[in-house]
Symmetry: C2
Subunit: 406 residues, 2 copies
Amino acid sequence: MSNLIPPHGKEEKLMPLLLKGDELQAEIKKAEGLKSIRITSRETSDLIMMGIGAFTPLTGFMGKADWKGVCDNFTMADGTFWPIPITVSTDDEEIKESDEIALIDDETGTLMATMQVAEKYTIDKEYECKAVFKTTDTEHPGVQKVMAQAKYNLAGPVKVLSESYYPEKFKGIYHRPEDSRKIFEEKGWKRVAALQLRNPMHRSHEYLAKIAVEIMDGVYIHQLVGKLKPGDIPADVRVRAIQTLVDNYFVKDTVVQGGYPMEMRYAGPREALLHATFRQNYGCSHMIIGRDHAGVGDYYGPFDAQKIFDEIPKGALKCQNLNIDWTFYCFKCEGMASMRTCPHGKEDRLLLSGTMVRKTLSEGGELPPQFSRPEVLEILKEYYQSLEEKVEIKLHGAATGEVKKD
Amino acid sequence: MSNLIPPHGKEEKLMPLLLKGDELQAEIKKAEGLKSIRITSRETSDLIMMGIGAFTPLTGFMGKADWKGVCDNFTMADGTFWPIPITVSTDDEEIKESDEIALIDDETGTLMATMQVAEKYTIDKEYECKAVFKTTDTEHPGVQKVMAQAKYNLAGPVKVLSESYYPEKFKGIYHRPEDSRKIFEEKGWKRVAALQLRNPMHRSHEYLAKIAVEIMDGVYIHQLVGKLKPGDIPADVRVRAIQTLVDNYFVKDTVVQGGYPMEMRYAGPREALLHATFRQNYGCSHMIIGRDHAGVGDYYGPFDAQKIFDEIPKGALKCQNLNIDWTFYCFKCEGMASMRTCPHGKEDRLLLSGTMVRKTLSEGGELPPQFSRPEVLEILKEYYQSLEEKVEIKLHGAATGEVKKD
């Protein structure tokens, strides 16, 4: 019997949809003869999440009743809690219900899955956007993707055939829920808090993690290695920056770093719920929810992602939110603090904007150690400077005419 | 309906044993005609705890069956959880079961209560000491008091007639459970952590409180204003030192300072359980348990008081322990940390012994701000220096012969 929180869903067991061995080979062979559709990177990443059991208890892409229930009240047709529709779309007019099809990642051309089409339906995309993102503004990167979906949604059970490049590219970091559960069990952990990361870990994130370390058995620093917005720091740089922080500033066996292949939707509160849902599958009893969790721009109130946990049906989700306020270094407190623990003024706090941090690092400038650990800054500075060099090489090439066509 | 944790015991309601108004006056009058016994300061303080409902659901001092059950398995005869015997003793041979007697505080001469004697019995004091203190060493201040108890224990329901000097001496700080519950309710708190204090609050205690503030609705800084060991800092000085810390370093409405009239027993793990039990009555859902909670000397392992919460019957106590490791300032972490969050060495940590702190302060020396806030140190320095002056005046008086008898 595991000490860990059970996976999400009535059956309380992991349901990975990835085939293995002979079964996998046979299905790949069969797929070659099937009609296929090309799917987006978001659909691909959702498929991998299903493949590894991170989206337990989903058995495939959602049908209309699930889609509607999830939009309206976080609940699938069978009563299971789920916060964001997980769907796949196509413009293909010929695919019919009861067809079996192959799903190909449009970016890499990888055969990702086969699917038994049980339902072909259309949705009101604006309706979904309003429910999930609270906006239909196409400046919102998540809205953009939903509005760009094809005409028909296809629903039905999937057999996942690949995890794409993740296991290789993020070796040692890429975890399936069975991996993280095994690690936690070996360490004897029971109360585990997940820290969601999609940026490098500065002292404000370190503080979030350390509050949790103080009171839990351990913290799972779980970073997104799927796609982000353009301009964000690539996952491999983030992984190295986090690892150096863990090595230098955390006690051994109090934190574990892992990565997961999902893409950001930037759905704020709804995405916080999704984060907690799949973290439960990864074995986490708690999910740290900070300021503006999974938000973008000004679409969500800074603590909407905390409040939404009180709005879902009681008992719907076993993984609990661990709310922490906006964190920073305060010179009067002489330490890390949050709006809940620091009574001082703005002028005493070290608050740097992302833009300012990027600018300073790419110009080779120094950031104070109260903002980020020197070992972390070193790695980020190196990355930003390599970007500058690339730009310079390009400019230089253009100036000397080396790459000119005429 | 209150949002707060219910009081301890089956009835889940506060049971203060203090009489009021006419009933009080009539009982005081009746007490004048009763046979009386003198009781110790520990017995007096327990009586006040019963009076204000902090020891709910006790109705009086314990009989032999309760005493034995509490010693053996933390359980009174009726099945209620209780971790330390609450008893009163006398050498009076004439008192008989069914007598009604008056209880007088031996130190102040105050009429404290009347008691219907239901049982007069003897105990094996060493047995109690082994069970409660894990030692019979009379160097242990708690053992000392049990071993010094009189020949007979008296059991039976009490009517409490006085709260002694506490309400007046600690005006604004002295809380009855109904007071703290009212304060928490007004603030809309539900999850409230109690921080037990019997010393001034340095940064290590501030850090304990702030971890709890980060994740709870609020923290009840609840300090003992009953008797301590000789040489400890008096309650009024501690109250001022804590208040200046709260005023300067905490956000308004995240902490409340209160005092309770119990005396320390220094029973370590068992006392931690007692602290949690009566904090539940005060409305606290959680009890912070740090390193060597309620310990003295080397009688208990540093985390025995945390472990004991896993050894009591499940569900016996609603108030939960919030365990936090040994805390300190670390120069490499550049902030407060604990053994769980700081991976650095002893040489990087600011660890000062109590003896060293007292010596420095009484000599007017400086302690680093990483150890204690300057505003707090100011108050303590003043106190220690006033002590020195008293000693000097005495010595001076002796030297000049002014206070000599002959």
